[in-house]
Amino acid sequence: MASVSPLSSLNNDRGRLLGFWDRFWFKPADPTTLGFMRILVGMLVVYTHIVYSYDLYELFGKDGWYNLDSMNKRRHEQPYVNPPNDFPPEDQIEETRKPYVYAPANTYLYAMPPDEALRQLELVIPVLPWDSPQERAMVEGMTSDDDKLPHLSFKYYKFVDEYNFDPRGLLDKDGVLLPERERKEIMESAKMHGVDPRKADGKGVAIFSIWFHVIDPDWMVLVHVAIIVVMILFTLGIATPITGILTWLGAVSYIHRAPTALFGQDTMMNILLIYLVIGNLIPGPGGAALSVDRLIARWRARRLGQEFPASLQPTVLANAAYRLVQIHLCLIYAFAGTSKLQGTTWWNGTAVWWTMANTEFAPLNRQIYRNYLEFLCKHRFLWELVMDGGNVHTLFVELCFPFLVWNRRTRWIMLMAATFLHAGIALFMGLTIFQIFMLIFLLTFYPSEIMHKLIDAIRDTFRAILPARAHASHTPAPVATGA
């Protein structure tokens, strides 16, 4: 029975709009594509984490590139500052920027008479960055204000350079320096995070990772292997809802522990995992699509003498997952495309060159590729055609995809264009896994019939190789009720 929107009976514009929304998000959809995505994403996730094995201690260990102490300081203490609730006066320089403003001629503090500046600087002498006790004693012993002020003023600016805040901030309301312990905490935090911690509205980052806590090398290997095993189980579709959540928790553990070793691939992997978890949270009767769960459910049903659905039941969560992936992809393209418009190279048509000739990414170690680029460079018109073409293609896909993909007439053009874009990036920039993830995003726009044909083709291939078994062909079932 088709899912009937309770709003579709409303015969007005609002009713139609709400009915559209309801159908867009909650109409049950064939979960076959979801299953296919799960397998593809799962394989890439497993590969990504197997590769981590070579760098397990270097990236996630206690004394790795980003050592655990520094990471813990950042996640517990990183301050954040909210902007003021009112508009700041336009004729005043922001307090935090004042120390950086150059006071001409006499190197006084900003807009302050010399004697007042000297008085204030003398209060913070103990915290200024002296090269040696002798230097401090020498400056303190100066009797002439004209000699003393420039020295103190310079040290003031050196403090600002190192600690990113005005040292007078270490004075209490009576003009006395804070206790040393408190001063050290403030200075250390300001040096690390660039903000006086007392000006912060809060601190800390809500992230988690098993690698914040498991630091023994042997246990790290054990946990790492266990996570990979769980990811394999998810790929195969064993206890899919549970292994899905565990896979995501595991993948994000690596991400949160080594934020400096990440790039776009990890972002896309995380997004897809989130939506796959949502889509597989409540699989239909018989288990998730293309999963071992489904095989087990079929075996059980046979054993108990029960009927088992020959084909997958559409589910609401599968549709919701597809829509989430689609909308998110559109946002990614939109932000990527519009941010490029700020750059000059994307306007003058040279941006693609700076990616194709990037030595660390492009396959410039291959002579054939180098020869190709050299050939282009020796033929300017051809070079401009290729680079401008790549430029326009990139911007066309990123700026137009979010709008044109929803129209049936233009959908296939956009899908092909996006596929070419990602294939090109994979070929010329070496970001292969990243681009495969992007292509998996695009699968949600393909009709499920294509997935069925693909799976039938794979199945037929296996049937030709393996002993024949009686299987029904994989056709979509009538729409049924879902959650």
């Binding site: 590139w65 980003y66 992230i207 776009g264």
Partner: protein, 515 residues
């Protein structure tokens, strides 16, 4: 129509498997097991013995898995029945009150620590109430007519499992605490959604979708653009509403790929200094470059190392002008050291070379942001502690622990089409623009500035005749790859030498130990 529901078949007389299966697939049995394991884990947490500490974590983990299994076992059965308006719905309004409490506390700015205890107690009370309701329903064998309420009951009872899990974690395992809190909240919210009428449920889920995508948009629109602050509203939303959600889910990416313009990659060159040894009374040093493609088995590993180096490429730090002026003069004095004439080669200010590279007095000091500086300290510490001195056979030298490390962030410049057409090698050393990031001790502390910290040290091929012009000392020892012969169209060969300022700087400014 086929009955698609999985029902409990009556076991055949000798079918022990079906009997076991009934219990395994029963969500209430699983919940009982989950609770039991969590209570056992809490018991283990009372002791500090290492073995019990490991057992505690293992039991908590397995308990949570079994709780999840219970939820799955219930939700995978058809759970949509007639819409429930039974009195049980009132019990499920309790979590609404709880969530409202949390929202009010958050809005009024209470710190998380202050609300933690009352929140936990409230959650405990609420879950206990729902557990009681759920158990009563189970005992009363609620039929399929109220299937949604039954599913909700399982979820509410399941919320107690991660809630108990909170008490198995000590303060150090804050990740476990965070995850258990989130799981508890998800179970409570899931239970509420399950109990509500479908229309209301869909409205709430739709609201979440909107919340989710607005949050993603906030992540993408709260970047500073060309030094200008992002929108006020965006920052307020990000800080007050989305910060924790986006950070927890790792949805903080702005998707600004290759924008505003594609840039060149960054590499690290570490010059690691070692103490004197009998054979080397003035100490030794070793150069390590990161990353090198040939060091990695897979491309992915190599790309991750490029991410590490890229994290120090945020040069938005500000140096106060008086300090800049001082450093300009200090650097000039350093370069005009009569005892070491070769230092003159390091002075690139106001030269044609600097002009071509876009180096001016204003851009001479490329100070990293506080974040990048913190990364540099961490990486310097790593380099100082992970690259022992090796002998010619590749074996570690005894006593070869580093004393300090100089860090150079090297931009691998991309060849212009003009230079590419001329056949210049993309790996040519002139394409490597080094910026000195400072010298650090083995704990990652920055040592005093020698005048060159955060300043560029470009390479340049020159002819022998130009040595004086570029200040290259006659006794400067060139390495084999710092010399080349170039034949022009007429067959005339010119000998070039490389002004490798990075290596010069490392050598001329070596902090040599005393005798």
């Amino acid at each position: 129509m086929n009955d698609l529901s999985v029902t409990h078949a009556e076991p055949t007389p000798n079918d022990w498997f079906a009997k076991c299966e009934r219990y395994v697939l029963d969500p209430w049995v699983a919940l009982l097991a989950g609770y039991a394991l969590m209570l056992l884990a809490i018991a283990c947490s009372l002791s500090a013995a290492p073995a019990l500490s490991i057992a505690r974590q293992a039991l908590a983990f397995i308990g949570a898995i079994i709780g999840g299994w219970a939820v799955w076992m219930r939700l995978r059965r058809p759970w949509q029945g007639q819409e429930s308006n039974t009195p049980y719905l009132w019990a499920f309004l309790i979590p609404l009150a709880l969530m409202a409490f949390v929202a009010v506390e958050t809005v009024f700015g209470k710190s998380y620590e202050e609300v933690r205890s009352p929140l936990t107690i409230l959650a405990l009370i609420q879950v206990s109430a729902c557990v009681a309701v759920g158990i009563v329903m189970r005992l009363m064998q609620i039929g399929s007519g109220n299937a949604t309420t039954s599913a909700a009951a399982v979820l509410y009872v399941a919320a107690g499992v991660p809630l108990l899990g909170l008490f198995t974690q000590n303060q150090e395992w804050d990740s476990g605490i965070l995850v258990f809190r989130v799981l508890t909240s998800l179970c409570l919210i899931g239970g509420l959604l399950a109990a509500l009428p479908r229309l209301v449920r869909r409205v709430l889920v739709s609201a979440f979708f909107v919340y989710h995508f607005v949050g993603i948009s906030m992540a993408a629109t709260t970047l500073a653009i060309r030094g200008e602050q992002p929108g006020w509203l965006n920052i307020q939303l990000s800080q007050h509403i989305y910060k924790d959600y986006l950070n927890f889910m790792y949805l903080t990416n702005a998707y600004h790929y290759y924008s505003p313009d594609p840039g060149p990659p960054q590499l690290f060159y570490f010059c690691i200094e070692y103490p004197p040894t009998p054979g080397h009374p003035t100490g030794q040093h070793q150069w390590v470059s990161v990353p090198k493609r040939e060091d990695f088995r897979t491309r992915l590993e190599y790309q991750r190392r490029l991410g590490v180096t890229e994290s120090t490429n945020d040069v938005t730090g500000i140096t106060p002008l008086p300090v800049q002026s001082f450093l300009v003069n200090y650097r000039k004095n350093q370069c005009n050291d009569p005892a070491v004439p070769g230092k003159r080669a390091l002075d690139v200010e106001n030269t044609e070379e600097a002009l071509k590279l876009g180096i001016s007095a204003a851009t001479m000091i490329r100070k990293p942001s506080a974040y990048s500086q913190a990364m540099l300290r961490a990486y310097a510490r790593y380099a100082a502690n992970h690259y022992p001195l090796l002998d010619d056979n590749g074996d570690p030298v005894p006593g070869g622990k580093a004393t300090s490390v100089k860090v150079y962030r090297v931009t691998h410049l991309i060849l212009s089409p003009y230079r590419f057409a001329k056949g210049i090698d993309p790996l040519d050393k002139e394409q490597y623009l080094a910026v000195f990031q400072g010298e650090y001790d083995t704990e990652g502390n920055l040592l005093p500035n020698d005048g060159f910290v955060y300043t560029p040290l470009p390479n340049k091929w020159i002819t022998e005749n130009e040595r004086d012009r570029y200040g290259v000392a006659k006794d400067w020892k060139l390495q084999p790859d710092e010399m080349k012969d170039v034949e022009d169209e007429n067959g005339h060969v010119t000998h070039y030498i490389l002004v490798n300022r990075m290596r010069m700087h490392a050598d001329y400014f070596r902090r040599r130990p005393g005798p």
